[in-house]
Each structure stands twice: as C-alpha cells, then as structure tokens.
Subunit: 141 residues, 4 copies
C-alpha cells in the first residue's frame, strides 16, 4: 500500500464525511482536493449550501493533506470566511500547506463553486504528533 492509499483507506472510516457525500479527488504533496455534489440535504433554510457543509468539506481536505504530510496531525483550530452565497451544483475545496514549524502546521483551504468562483476562504492549524506511519499501516494491512 502506498502512503497515499494508506491515508485514503484511513479516512474512509470518517462517518460524517460519508454522511455528507464528500469525496477525495486528489492527494499529492502539494495539495489535497475534495468535493461534493450538492443535493437538498446540503442546503440551508435559504436554499444555498449550508455553512457547516462548507466547513466540513474544508476541514476534510485539510485533515487528509496534513495527515498525509505529517502523521498524525490533530486539528486545533479552524477559521472560515464566507464570501458569497454558494448556489451551485458542486463545491470543491483545495488545501495547501502554508508552513510547518515544530509541532505546528498551518494551511489555507479555498472552496470554489461550479463556476470556479471562490465562496469561502479557510485557515486551519494542526498539532503534529510525529508518529511512525507504520503504526497506521499495521492497522490496515
């Protein structure tokens, strides 16, 4: 199992991501991309994508990327700014690391709608535990 496959397998156990219909699209050292097709179950009372759904997508993209780069990383804080109402058939989040130093990693996650317009700008910071990836590998092999 490659390191990518291992992380993907691990995050398949995320129940809330599954419930939310979120899919991992891409995972490289440079970025993680996650997306979701939007249905009625993702909308708020005003008919646009619910703020928690947007946050959950961003948080997932960050978590997958940070844990791929630095196993294991625990999210300490998340910050989301809503720019536009998301009235769209799909949302896509791209997570990129800004910096890692010591036990901290900081990432920016941008969410775009189906017209490629930015709807949210997010920032996450994680605490890196620096565990041996082989511990995770044993769990899944």
């Amino acid at each position: 199992m490659t390191d990518e496959e291992l992380i993907i397998k691990h995050f398949e156990n995320d129940g809330y991501v599954k419930l939310s219909g979120i899919t991992l699209v891409e995972l490289t050292k440079e970025k993680a991309v996650a997306s979701a097709k939007i249905g009625k179950e993702h909308l708020n009372a005003n008919g646009s994508v619910q703020g928690g759904m947007l946050y959950t997508l961003a948080d997932f993209a960050f978590a997958v990327h940070a844990n791929f780069l630095h196993p294991a990383t625990v999210t300490q804080g998340g910050h989301i700014q809503y720019i536009r109402a998301a009235i769209t058939s799909e949302i896509t989040a791209t997570a990129k690391e800004t910096v890692r130093a010591g036990h901290n990693t900081i990432s920016e996650v941008i969410i775009r709608d189906d017209k490629d317009e930015i709807v949210c700008v997010c920032n996450f910071n994680g605490f890196v535990k620096d565990i041996d990836k082989e511990i995770l590998r044993k769990k899944y092999e």
Copy 2:
C-alpha cells in the same frame, strides 16, 4: 405564530441540520441551545466526534439565535478551537451574543460533551440585514 415559532419553522428547512441529526433545545433572548445524539455517522476516522459535525452544531445555534434577535443575519465568519477529543454520547452547543453594533453581531458558542466538559470554543460574526420580520412571517403563515 410567536417570533420563536416563526424562527423555528424557518430553520426546519435546513437540510444539512436535519441530515446531521441536530435539534434545537432552547431559544430565548439570552441564548440558543442545540444538541445532537452521537452515532457512528458523526465520528471521524479516530472514533471521536468529527470536527465538521461540531462546527455545524455551533453554527446552527448561532444562526438560530442571531436570526431570532436580528432578522435576517447572514454568517460572515466562524472560528472554532478544539480543546478535547469529543468521545461522548451527546454534544450540546450554547450560543450567546457578545455584542451587536451597526450591522455586526458577534457571538460565542461553547460546545460541551455528556460530562458537561467544554470540547470546543467558537466565535461567529454575522451581518445583520435588518429586514422586516413580517416578510418571513408571510412566507410561513
């Protein structure tokens, strides 16, 4: 229909809150309280409550309270800090307004586990549109 009933009816249309199994417990001028019983569908890959689920609960408590106090309020930003892993049968969020000035409202939302321990501290800021509550009322009566 009272103002409370009107807001509750409006937020019953929130599809993602329904999907997430979140319920409004209390709504007064002082606070809004929302909670959720935790099942497997709310857990992350490590077995604790998923960060997006926690955020969604907090965001909902804020949105209900802010829209009750000041119709209509649109969330502009959310900030969540995770204090403890939430290993619990239930999570409860309490939203209280810190200040409103001009078109801005700022709230703090605290999430607690089933032992009444704080698991997250959240802050939200909303843009208050100051619409006539009767517009919303006509929609539902």
Copy 3:
C-alpha cells in the same frame, strides 16, 4: 514577592507595551484588566485608535492573565473583530479565561472605549508549558 507581583515584575520588561503606553490595572484569578490613555501616537490615518494598538492591548491583557494562571503560557493565536471605530480618550481591555484543558488555554478579551461601549472582541489561545513558577521567581528575587 506574591505571585501577582512576580508576574507584574516580569511583564515590566515588555518593551513594546511600554512604548505603547499600556498599563496593567487589575490582576486576579478571574481577570486581567489593562488600559491606555490615547494620544496622537495611537491613532491611525483616519483619526481613530489604530487596529494594532487595540490588538496589542488585548494581547497583553491575555498574556498577563494566562501567565499568572499557568506559568509559562505562549500565545499561539489571536483573533480580533472590530465592532466600532474607537474615537476615545482611553481604551480598556478585560481578559477572562474561557477554558483550560491539557496544554491549551482559551480566553476572550473585550475592549471598551471611554463610554464603556465595546469596540473589539478578541480571542486568544495559548500553549501552557507548565514550568515551575520558582524558576521565574529566582530571576527576579
């Protein structure tokens, strides 16, 4: 030297707080209060208190309180929301801890103007190193 005197003595070495004309007003287990008389050197190009000055006051109130409660605490993140333009002869910040768990402490800091109106709402999170207070005491006695 009491614990309060020790912390106050330590923070007298903060050069930027001195440059900024910031004074500690109160320090108890419940809160720390800091304030500054406003002069031209604290104003931005539009004539209200500069955003960095407001932040510095809040950060100082947090740092003193957190280090008094839990020596030594290092600030990891700060978040400030500006509610009103601060056109005032004085600003006062009150820091209160929301929660401490493990190595994390979270505080809210509220800044008020000379009419007792809230001008900023701030949140800080610190990493608690849990050092022995006596190490600091030896330095100053």
Copy 4:
C-alpha cells in the same frame, strides 16, 4: 500624484505605525510589503519580538494594500498565528489579496524573520466602502 503616492501619503498619518518604526517597502497591485528594524522597544519580556508588534506590522501591510486596491477599506477582523519565536534583527510582512467579492476583501499576510523563515501567518478581512479616490486626493493635493 500617482495612486501609489496618494495612499503612501495618507498612511504617513498613521501615528502608531510611526511610533512602531514600521516602513512601507513595496506597493503594487500584487502585494504590499512592510518591514521594521527590531530594537529593544519591540521585544516582549522574553526577548523575542512582541506579538502586538508582529500583528501591527501585518495589519499595516494589509491596510495599505486593501486601500490601494479598493478605497476605502475598513478592517473588520484579523487573525494571527504565531509559528516561531521571532528572534531577529528585522521583520518583513507581505500582504496579498486572496479574493474580493461584493463589499468584502480577504487577504493573507506572511511575516518572515531575517533568515527568511516564516514567523506568523495572518488573515484579514476588510469591508470595502467603494468611495471615489478623488475625495482622498483632494485632501492631499
């Protein structure tokens, strides 16, 4: 007077930036860069650059850039994450806009030390008032 010269002239009236020894280094559509030589008056009680000084530098780089791109922009919120203790002879902040939509602008500001290492990651959001630049011009010509 060019647009750049106009904004620079306006921000020369910032008293706290002057007190803090902060200088604008570069201003283009792509970015604003500000820096400060570090003296004892910028240090905290532990001998590294004070958190408020770091924030003030970042806030200034954001404010200059946002007001250059979109006059006039008022800062609504700032978020700073400290990555490393800044033990350095100089600090440099680079502000870049992530997105503008409607009345909102979001920027990321990165602060580096004299070894070009990142010490802080900051995010700002501003409210764009969309005033006529000529109003500002009349004030200074």
